[in-house]
């Protein structure tokens, strides 16, 4: 079941859910799962992103999903100033980590999902003498200007 973010009940239900974990359990932030699915009506399924702006902004973009994430990030950071939010997006959506004031989605970090994939492929499939340092350096530095990225090395995916 996929949420319809245009509904007030959905926004109430999910925003309250964030407030609940912060109030009741005193967690310090959230790693939002499957942000790509929330950004687009096609949910990123069977879609190869090539980082074109027409892919990010168009009729396929779920504006209600974007508004929900802006509200969620506003709520989390207003509830606790030092809170951390991380967005799991594979589409490379621009403004993911820009501030709400700048018209961004307001996440603090992007989850660098290409990196665990890269380490996995090198370690499993590539003999050491064939490791491509140029490719490795590109993957590690391939990010939007000033965007903070969680560069992790192991993923359950």
């Amino acid at each position: 079941m996929i949420f319809d973010y245009s509904k007030y009940e959905v926004k109430r239900f999910l925003l309250s859910n964030l407030a609940w974990y912060m109030d009741e359990y005193k967690v310090d932030g959230f790693r939002f799962d499957a942000v790509t699915s929330m950004l687009y009506h096609h949910h990123g399924i069977e879609h190869d992103f090539v980082a074109g702006y027409d892919e990010y902004f168009g009729l396929q973009t779920d504006l209600h999903g974007i508004v929900y994430m802006m509200l969620a990030n506003t709520l989390v950071h207003r509830t606790k100033k030092s809170a951390i939010t991380v967005g799991e997006d594979v589409s490379g959506f621009c403004t993911l980590c820009r501030t709400i004031e700048d018209g961004g989605l307001g996440f603090d970090y992007r989850l660098g999902m290409a990196l665990p994939d890269m380490w996995f492929k090198y370690l499993r499939d590539t003999p050491f003498e064939y490791w491509n340092m140029g490719h490795m350096a590109h993957q590690l530095t391939d990010r939007r200007w000033k965007e903070k990225v969680v560069a992790y090395s192991e993923s359950h995916d």
């Binding site: 079941m1 790693r31 499957a34």
Partner: protein
């Protein structure tokens, strides 16, 4: 690994059935509070994996058809 309650273990916690419940497989709500307190005491911050993109399609134990219709949240 997500912590919200989920009926199907093989989904790694991504087919959420109970949004406000900490998964009973990993302990009680008090256990989780103890973990957060201990982490904070050691200067470690706790970030929770949260699933707000989709829900389990289960009708009886999930929130699909929560109000009897399939139009409440989707």
């Amino acid at each position: 690994m997500a912590i919200q309650e989920h009926a199907y273990y093989g989904c790694f916690g991504y087919h959420v059935t109970g949004y406000y419940a900490v998964s009973s497989r990993q302990g009680t709500p008090d256990d989780f509070k103890y973990l957060v307190d201990k982490a904070h005491g050691m200067g470690i911050r706790v970030i929770v994996d949260i699933i707000h993109s989709h829900a389990s399609s289960n009708m009886t134990d999930g929130i699909s058809k929560f109000d009897g219709t399939d139009q409440c949240y989707e």
